[in-house]
Point group: C2
Chain length 150, copies 2
Amino acid sequence: MQYWEDIEIGARSSFGRYEVTREEVIDFASKYDPQPFHLSDEAAAQTYFGRLSASGWHTCAMMMRMLVDHMKTQDQAGLGSPGIDELRWLKPVYPGDTLRAQSVVIDKTPSKSRPDMGSYRGQTTILNQHDEPVMTLKSIGLIRRRPENG
Amino acid sequence: MQYWEDIEIGARSSFGRYEVTREEVIDFASKYDPQPFHLSDEAAAQTYFGRLSASGWHTCAMMMRMLVDHMKTQDQAGLGSPGIDELRWLKPVYPGDTLRAQSVVIDKTPSKSRPDMGSYRGQTTILNQHDEPVMTLKSIGLIRRRPENG
């Protein structure tokens, strides 16, 4: 089990492979972000995007799926996340793209109020198949501290 | 049409009504955030959440749907968003909850590189039916400036 004590500042990881399909882009956008450029090529042609592109929130959701699949291989004593800083959508994500993730731990802090818990921040970059960053974010993770008898 | 010039710092808006269903919580989590506490009451009972709760990214997606529906009533010359700052998940969102949104404009900036464009930042709070804030975020919006002959 990986505890707060095991998190190393500067530690890097690469994970995930997510194939973005037209069907999924339209399905997500229809439910959660029905702006025309996320629903059809014709509407998107008149905008910055040029053609049908994924909702930025869909890219977040795809990032999360890659992260959850990655965490399953790690057996980390994670306690969820209180939030995200500096989320940036840098380039459009298009159907046919294949996404992957890179993460680096930027800092870690023991909890003042809960001696059994700590937090850390990671900078995550989502890249497409051309190795172009399409999204970056800084996420805060909560994690258990190693039990004293552990 | 609402342009950058029409955005007023301090302007407040309240919008949206989103009924969170168990079926949708499980559907979103199955695709994008398959952690046990987002998939079943039994698994969630052993965690901070207590019972089945929505993925934080699902709450973002529901916020976006309320925002898009609200924007449709406004006819704003919006150009999308480059990102989000200080996203915080404050309380769990449960099936049966009804969400709504409150927003306030916190600042606005003309673009240095593009005289036809400006940006503004809004602080948005998502509340549940008990008027408890469940999520807050600061979003950046890009918007056209009023044409000189407009």
